[in-house]
């Protein structure tokens, strides 16, 4: 048994309901805070040099979005994110299934996993400078490394949590090991894996961006580094807004996917115990 605390499964995403009735308040709140930002800057409560006005920042973003360079950087970041997530999933899900199915295998790798998992991926940046160099490979490696762990842990938990009665029933009906895996174990661990994918999708973006910012690999992160060293504060804010929306889009899409993956699961159905 793994210590339950060390590798606790993450809770599913909390649902954000936006009914038409409830949409006025959030909208007002966003509008009010944007207005407050404009006010603080225009009245020089915080100097406009440090905090460009909201309108200035969004105008800077608009101008950036009219350039091809912005979209090229944007697509590069998305590419690093997507490849990192895909490779992590391709590695972590099979390994998680093996470690989740065989107690001995899980025990054998418990210490290395528990030691490697909490290591902040950012410490790998200097190593990547020396090995893979300042290019897309480093970015993908870092994104993959970060996204790997939540996926691995969630998959292991999902496989362990399969109803033993269902497995025994499958066995007594003469299903082979492979059939049991495909028909029973995998479907019932999908919700866990979906939660893992949702967390990994965020982590992968953070690390793709981190690699670009710290290593100068082309992408939005590199752009932020360049404009901040030139002191173009309005563009620093513009890029931060853009990256924030990219993160938000990814978060919303993958939370949606997670809910879909959970919907058919007995635990989510109404009317079942």
């Amino acid at each position: 048994m793994l210590a339950p605390d060390a590798l606790a499964p993450a809770a599913p995403a909390t649902r954000v309901r936006l009914s038409t009735r409830g949409i006025a308040l959030p909208t007002l709140s966003v509008a009010a805070s944007l207005a407050l930002w404009e006010l603080i800057s225009r009245t020089n409560t915080i100097s406009q040099h440090d905090l460009p006005a909201m309108s200035t920042s969004f105008r800077a973003l608009w101008h950036l979005m009219e350039t091809g360079a912005f979209w090229l950087a944007f697509l590069r970041t998305v590419r690093g994110w997507a490849l990192g997530l895909l490779i992590a999933a391709a590695l972590a899900v099979p390994i998680g299934i093996v470690l989740g199915s065989f107690e001995l295998a899980a025990r054998a790798f418990r210490v290395p996993i528990e030691f490697l998992r909490p290591i902040p991926s950012a410490v790998l940046i200097p190593v990547l400078f020396l090995t893979l160099g300042t290019n897309i490979r480093s970015e993908i490696f870092l994104a993959t490394f970060g996204a790997f762990w939540p996926l691995l842990v969630q998959t292991m938990y999902g496989v362990r949590d399969v109803d033993p009665v269902a497995l025994d029933t499958g066995r007594s009906f003469g299903l082979s090991r492979l059939e049991r895996l495909v028909r029973i174990t995998l479907p019932s661990s999908v919700p866990y894996i979906a939660t893992g994918v949702r967390i990994a999708s965020t982590v992968s973006l953070i690390l793709a961006f981190t690699a670009e910012l710290f290593m100068g690999i082309p992408g939005l992160g590199q752009k932020v580094n360049v404009v901040s060293s030139f002191g173009e504060t309005d563009k620093v804010f513009a890029y931060a807004i853009a990256v924030g929306f990219l993160g938000l889009a990814i978060h919303l899409v993958f939370s949606g996917l997670e809910r879909r993956a959970l919907r058919w699961h007995p635990s989510q159905r109404r009317g079942t115990a």
Binding site: D5, T14, V30, E103, L104, P120, T131, I206, L213, F214
Partner: protein, 259 residues
């Protein structure tokens, strides 16, 4: 069964030892200056971190983690209880929480330096605290919303004043989940510390990592990596220890009541 257990325990010890041994064997034969021998790294670790740089770098890093984590915990719990109890406030706050928690933290590193005019503790602590709020906040909101309404209603009909309700009912019921959020926050605090120090600083573990890399001192660089790994691991272990004490009543209660 006992043979199986012995085998499991044996594997649990043997595999990490083999991995470390393999690393040493590989580095001895590779003769690569980028990958010093494991034994060299350990010697450098002793030279750098026992205890030459402890006062100048490790302590400042720990202070930043401590202060950032403490602020994040207090703000996260206070705000979380408020938002968990009030639907209106929650509606107001939701878009902001959703946007900022999805923001990749390094995107705000330059902004934090510009706004705070600092690359010292002020900026580091603020940066760490800002991002560490979210795990505590989200878990607190979730926990407070999950409290059995009968409890609150009973207290209300007995005219228990709201301060007492929060202090005696809401916080204790939400505590297990709040603590889970705090543990995620602590892990995040280490990452944020490294990121912010690696980006720009004049002291700290992340700073040592950066300068040893920039000056091609690969032994000390690996030693710093080992230290950060140990730091993450030990802080988590320490927190688990405290958590076990803090929630001892909860475990006892859970064990005694069938779910």
């Amino acid at each position: 069964m006992t043979r199986r257990r012995t085998l499991a325990v044996g594997l649990e010890i043997l595999v990490p030892v083999l991995l470390l041994f393999g690393w040493q064997l590989y580095t001895v034969h590779a003769h690569s200056f980028k990958f010093p021998r494991l034994s060299t790294i350990l010697v450098d670790f002793k030279k750098e971190w026992l205890f030459a740089h402890v006062g100048s770098d490790l302590v400042p890093s720990l202070e930043r983690i401590g202060a950032g984590f403490a602020i994040a915990t207090l703000v996260g719990i206070a705000l979380g209880v408020l938002l968990g109890m009030s639907t209106v406030l929650r509606r107001i706050a939701t878009p902001h929480i959703e946007y900022w928690r999805a923001m990749p933290p390094p995107a705000l590193l330059p902004i934090s330096i510009i706004l705070l005019h600092s690359i010292q503790n002020r900026q580091k602590v603020a940066f760490i605290a800002f991002f560490c709020v979210f795990p505590v906040l989200l878990n607190t909101i979730d926990a407070v919303r999950g409290i059995d309404p009968t409890l609150i209603d009973t207290a209300r009909s007995y005219r228990v004043p709201w301060q007492q309700r929060v202090w005696r009912i809401v916080l204790p019921s939400a505590l297990p989940q709040i603590v889970a959020g705090m543990r995620n926050s602590l892990a995040l605090a280490v990452i944020m510390m490294v990121l912010s120090e690696y980006f720009s600083s004049s002291s700290g573990v992340g700073y040592q990592l950066l300068i040893s890399k920039n000056t091609f001192q690969f032994g000390p660089m690996w030693a710093a990596i080992v230290l950060i790994g140990l730091l993450g691991y030990l802080l988590n272990a320490l927190f688990l220890l405290i958590e076990r004490r803090l929630l001892a009543w909860h475990r006892g209660w859970r064990a005694a009541t069938p779910q």
